[in-house]
Symmetry: C2
Subunit: 453 residues, 2 copies
């Protein structure tokens, strides 16, 4: 492959690619709010067709999956997992430019979903364009699997992948995310925690009631929920569900060794988020690294009850809701956590609190010394200034378990991410410099996949 020609194309046609990305980001596609999903799937399909992919928009019980396949010179197949859905943009007032009006500022493109994960999708197409321009063909087969429910726990992906094992089959899967850490060291993330995301719903009366006499004699949904929540986890961060920790597998020595090679994060986090300290009295770097990814969590992501406006309103709420995510580590399974949660609430007198399952994924990891991981590290060598660091497990979650289980593939990472992306938060963005690097890395991955067996 004429990699110099490929790199030149990636650099020279950057503006065109960013324009294409901006058009995609201008299309809202919030799975949690069922907003713009089909329109965005169509846009994604068109992007792939333009590059000569054979594209199918395949239905699921929820958002459709866009599948695109293009044959290459060799028989090996790279599966590319991306998603076209994005997190809700709220709170809107914290965005400097509107979330669905992509805006360039200081070498970064700002928009909801630009980092997670529309940017990586278009960046990969940009690399493909460069190779097709330079070589006329791809070095290996490429299959894109672009789903529309990643941000809501990929709720319908498992039956989809299970039902399409042959169509989706391949040798290596490149994950939606990738990039560099806060010291600009390229990273390979090869494991992800699982997730079990629920809404807890308390209802104590058929209507809100004046808090006068009512406060003394009627049950209060907000209190009920607060007591239920406080029974789930104590102030020392111990999660109190029955047998919650019994399936937890601690990190291997090799995984710890890899984590120990990571950069110092404590001072960085403290400054970035204006923190006084960390949970559980964490006070040295390796402890932070291990606790951050090899311990399961129970996080309140949202609370809502009663009056939330300015000033006071004396009301006894009849209804209260909490969004809670459990991050799971090998070998915890979301279905089991759901039943532990139900059992716990029942045992503590909260039988009347409803659990709405908003989706989940089991945890999964690829052997950090797998040849596919070595290939991804190799592909980064002349793109980034520093050698790649392999991260055996990250704190986030995704449906990697599904790909590993049904397709039996190792999972590697690639992308334009850095520590400033603010994925899931207001002012999400990517760096154009890292976008170029990400495209170059992806081009090299395709090249090496031509030799993979």
């Amino acid at each position: 492959m004429n990699i110099q020609a490929v790199d030149r194309y990636i650099e020279e046609k950057l503006n065109e690619s960013i324009e294409e990305l901006s058009r995609l980001c201008a299309q809202p596609s919030v799975a949690a709010q069922n907003l713009g999903i089909d329109a965005c799937a169509d846009l994604v399909a068109e992007r792939l067709k333009e590059r000569g992919f054979e594209v199918q928009i395949l239905p699921t019980e929820g958002s459709p999956v866009v599948f695109g396949e293009r044959k290459g010179k060799m028989d090996s197949t790279l599966i590319v997992y991306d998603h076209y859905d994005v997190q809700p943009p709220e709170p809107l007032d914290l965005w400097k430019s509107p979330p669905f009006e992509p805006t360039l500022r200081d070498g970064r493109l700002y928009a909801r979903g630009v980092a997670d994960n529309k940017g990586n999708f278009i960046e990969r197409l940009h690399a493909i364009d460069a190779i097709l321009e330079a070589e006329g063909e791809l070095p290996c087969n490429v299959k894109f699997v672009v789903e529309g429910e990643e941000e809501i726990g990929s709720v319908h992906l498992e039956p989809f992948v299970k039902a399409h094992q042959e169509l989706l089959s391949g040798d290596v899967c490149v994950w939606e995310i990738g990039g560099v850490d806060h010291e600009n060291t390229p990273i390979q993330m090869v494991g992800m925690r699982g997730i079990c995301y629920v809404e807890l719903h308390a209802r104590t009366a058929n209507q809100d009631i004046h808090s006068g006499t009512g406060g003394s004699i009627f049950p209060n949904a907000a209190w009920w929920l607060v007591w239920a929540l406080s029974s789930l986890k104590d102030k020392d961060e111990n999660i109190l569900l029955p047998s919650f920790y019994e399936d937890v597998v601690p990190p291997t020595e090799r995984e710890k060794e890899l984590l120990a090679q990571g950069p110092e994060m404590m001072a960085f986090y403290k400054e970035k988020y204006d923190l006084d300290g960390f949970l559980k009295g964490i006070n040295y770097e390796l402890e932070l690294a291990i606790e951050g990814v090899y311990e399961p969590t129970c996080t309140i992501c949202g609370l809502t009850a009663g009056y939330q406006g300015e000033g006071s309103k004396t009301v006894l709420p009849a209804e209260a809701r909490a969004k809670v995510d459990f991050r799971l580590v090998p070998n915890q399974m979301p279905e089991k956590v759901l039943s532990q949660l139900r059992a716990h609430l029942d045992a503590h007198g909260f039988e009347d609190i409803k659990i709405v399952n908003l989706g989940g994924n089991p945890p999964a990891k690829t052997d950090p010394d797998h040849p596919a991981v070595q290939m991804a590290v190799e592909a980064a060598k002349d793109v980034y200034e520093k050698p790649t660091r392999v991260i055996p497990m990250v704190g986030g979650s995704g449906p990697n378990f599904i790909f590993q289980r049904y397709l039996g593939v190792p999972i590697i990472s690639s992308g334009a991410g850095d520590s400033e992306t603010r994925a899931h938060a207001p002012n999400e963005s990517i760096s154009l410099d890292l976008y170029v690097k990400g495209a170059k890395h992806f081009a090299r991955l395709l090249k090496l996949m031509g030799e993979y067996n």
Copy 2:
């Protein structure tokens, strides 16, 4: 006084009075949201001027107080306490007709504030119109004190009343609310609990963070608030602030005797609010009556944190807030509760949780056998079908303490309220039938005040 002529006027001119009331209710005046306050004060002042009252709009540090005075035949003075502010109308989607578009349905007028307390204000003016039409003059002096911050705890009323003791002086004070209970028995409410309304504010970082790694290592404002709240009150409704109960004075034997004369409420409440049972295992009527008003409370009125929209968002909230009202019984004082709350939070490690004081009032009561109360009972005799029941204490709160402390007056009640008013909730309303009865009661009160000394 030609009471037949007065009653006839009240009945015949009902529509005109309801139209006047509707105009007042169409003016939003939400103190908590600083919405329409000055415009509503002007409307109230005009209403009084039209009846020949000398009116002053007196400033405070917050909403102005409308003061109106008209001399009567005799020297005795009735002080009328009303307020022109209303509760926030939210949640708007539960209103059958818009909260600020007064609507008649099935003999009731629906609007935010129509029961609490704009209806009683206009109803009293309607009685005054009837007397002026029949007699040409009022039997006693009447002073209206119409404030604009009752629904946010009358935060500036105490210095106002203290500074205007002479201007506001009188013999008896008729309170903003009054009417009948759910069995249509007229009631005299002569005591009110106090209130201390706060917002608790937790902040753990300078921005919301992705809940992936963050959930394991960074503090979470929502959890922090949940733990702080759950430390305030246990599941058995014991409020855990230090020395919180030390100033509580139990009801007198006479007060219990009066409470025991009340109607049975348990079945009524259960059906109305679709309840399984009551707090604290309350299981007989007198217990319900006493617990409902002679025990202090700690009520969560609102909770807000993180993502509250549809579906899931994996975010670690940097900020969380709770609105909490404490209802106080004699002789608890709001300032003391505030310092108990601060001390409690500090002692439990929640020094970083901010307390925003949103206002309060101490509890206060008038002797249920006071001559003014007997007068109010007498005034109801030929208006209602049943004899009046004197209620020594109600669950709600108001600034009655201020009037008793600085003006030294007994406090009685009068009004159009019933058990269907839904004060503070969507679809607030009053009955036109009870509006007429309330006006007749008020006219008789004025008549008897002419003989009061």
